[in-house]
């Protein structure tokens, strides 16, 4: 390895790394920016233009107003949320939408004048107060605009909160359950002597090679059968907890066993001589010393169960987890990227927080698993 990562190849290595990091993080950044942009801005320009002022064209119909007392109307062509925009040009017919500069007065083809100022205020003088609305075309420069509106929207009206809770209800027990079970199994495999120990250890590693996609349906059939036999609801949280636990256990046992084996043998023997029971050794000595590995697995398992959709679709029918909700949103709100981006970021936020909280442990624990 020393030759490959030697001093001479360092710049290339760094360049490659930087390229990979960019490749991986750029879509996320795009998603992040998009989730804070207004929907109409998303549709006319890419997220990378969001930080610079954007030119946008629009049309407003100044409607006829029966209650108007005079022939003069005034108001703004801009919505309140567009208050920072500057009008650059406007027109009164679709053939020539930017015939006049801002501040000029246009003569209307049917009589009357329209004055449009840069800040969007207009003044319309019309001979016929009851006439149907006058169309105003304009081009405006929009300042970079970011809004939390998308987040308010998805969190309040798209059913995201409910699915967020469901995802948490799936992911947290699905992490803690295999962690607890694997702790005992890994300790036994690492430190207790019994016939067939080596074989069992190899078997758990071998189970890691079974693809989930292959095992899912047989497991489901067995689970349904067992559920019916016991008279239990087969589409419940219990089912998905058990499924995630089963699929997570091989990695958990392997990782924890490797981590626990790294505890010096003499420490455990000293505890045994001190009169500690196996349970006491596990809880008092081995667990505190293998915390990094425990944290590493917990993070892996949490991310995996949080991001999972397949197991959730198969084992959890009426309740909808976040990933399933996102898929449904794709169907119903396919064109509204800002809604999708915000929803996706809501679902991304939890794993990101978890990862950054535990990243030190993840790296250490993962390396511990590999090195044995």
């Amino acid at each position: 390895m020393a030759g490959i990562t030697g001093r001479r190849s360092r710049p290339i290595l760094h360049l490659l790394l930087a390229a990979m990091v960019l490749l991986w993080t750029l879509p996320t950044l795009g998603l992040f920016v998009t989730s804070f942009r207004a929907g109409d801005a998303v549709r006319v320009s890419g997220w990378w233009t969001a930080l610079a002022p954007a030119t946008q064209s629009g049309m407003v119909r100044i409607a006829g107003d029966d209650t108007a007392s005079g022939a003069v109307r005034s108001g703004s062509v801009l919505r309140p949320d567009q208050s920072g925009a500057r009008i650059t040009a406007f027109g009164v017919s679709s053939r020539d939408p930017d015939a006049f500069a801002a501040g000029q007065t246009a003569e209307l083809p049917l009589g009357g004048q329209l004055t449009l100022h840069a800040d969007g205020r207009y003044r319309l003088v019309t001979p016929d107060p009851a006439a149907s609305g006058q169309r105003v075309f304009f081009a405006a420069t929009m300042p970079p605009a970011f809004t939390f509106q998308n987040y308010f929207h998805v969190l309040s009206s798209e059913g995201l909160v409910g699915s967020l809770v469901n995802s948490a209800l799936v992911a947290v027990p699905s992490t803690l359950l295999p962690l607890t079970l694997a702790t005992f199994a890994a300790y036994a495999l690492a430190w207790m002597r019994f016939p067939g120990r080596a074989l069992l250890a190899v078997a758990t590693v071998a189970l890691m090679a079974v693809p989930l996609q292959m095992a899912l349906i047989p497991v489901l059939r067995f689970y349904n059968f067992a559920g019916q036999a016991l008279g239990l609801d087969t589409k419940s949280f219990l089912g998905i907890w058990l499924a995630h636990t089963g699929f997570g256990l091989p990695l958990a046992i392997h990782l924890l066993r490797a981590g626990m084996s790294a505890v010096p043998r003499e420490i455990i023997e000293a505890a045994r001589l001190d009169g500690a029971s196996e349970l006491r050794i596990l809880i008092g000595i081995v667990l505190p010393l293998s915390l990094p590995v425990l944290a590493a697995f917990a993070v892996f398992q949490f991310l995996w169960t949080w991001n999972d959709i397949m197991v959730a679709l198969v084992f959890l029918a009426p309740q909808e987890v976040l990933t399933a909700r996102l898929v449904n949103l794709m169907g119903s709100r396919g064109g509204e990227w800002e809604v999708l981006a915000a929803s996706t970021f809501v679902s991304l936020a939890v794993p990101l927080v978890v990862f950054f909280l535990f990243q030190r442990h993840v790296v250490r624990g993962a390396v511990a698993g590999i090195s044995t």
Binding site: P264, I267, L273, D274, I285
Partner: protein
Amino acid sequence: MTEILFHHVSKLFGTSRAVTDFCLRITPGELIVVVGPSGCGKSTLLRLVAGLEEITSGTLMMGSVRMNDVPAAQRGVAMVFQNYALYPHMTVRDNLAFALTIARRPKPEIRAAVERIAQTLDLTACLDRLPGALSGGQRQRVAIGRAMLRNPRVYLFDEPLSNLDPALRVTTRTEIARLKERMPDATMIYVTHDQVEAMTLADRIVVMEQGAIRQVGTPLDLYARPRTEFVARFIGSPAMNLLPGTVVRTGPATTVALAQGAGVTVPIPTQPQDLGRAVRLGVRPEDLTPAGGCASIVSGRVLRTEPLGDVTLLQVAGPEGTVMARVPGTRTDLRHTDIALAADASRLHLFQDGLSLLCRDKGAGLSADH
């Protein structure tokens, strides 16, 4: 006051023998040092006593109780490990108190006991530190203290000084010796590969090789009357010189002709049938002294001198090969000179086929000592 009795104890790992037919009686309050090269089974022996390994065959008794199937925690033994085996996530105080906490002793009693031991071992200042913040010597003292707190019947030391630097090794060794003096009733088994530790600490030394006892005896007994060439070379530093020779006269004293033709008469009896047999003459470097003329055993050219201050080691190229000699004072002037070395005849050893001629009559009955 616990007597330990090994009765034909063997330990197999799969098919390889770690300890073979081990027989020994350790008297109460004795400090036994087990020495031998690495892989000779001495650590396994300790683990058998501790209950960390199962005995394959034979019987281990402590007092009048058969210990083969007694769990480690109930044997009343405490072990001090080479790498200290302290609990790294607990403070020194908790490390010391661990066994008593598990035994659910009352808190004031634990506190008092911990503080008493800390006082004894000069650890009071670091009671609330983690082991990682201690020096090697302090860590080993904590390990010893942890053993003492359990008030065991038997102490087991597994190369406790091997991880310490030489200066600390000497002071810690002295501390262990002092500790033993304060606890005359405690039976101790001390495993080491360091023969200085063995010579200075032991009441008796057990020399092991390939899982079996080669010799048991007091340090000076082993030094003066090694039963085999292995023991002869293992005890004493630098190792004993072995010079090939032939028996030319037998009787109450034996004359051996060495390669260069000099005849050496040794006060060791031989039988007439030994005449003409190939033997090896053993002489310790410290028994060789420069001498003139015919009285010499070895003569040759000094290849190297290693002055140690009080003594000088000479590497002499003689007709029998290279011989080490240890002469008093600083004698670097002897380098590249020819030298003749003599030794007191009563300090010479004779070996045939690796076995001392002194012990030959006892045959293979190594168990005679037990």
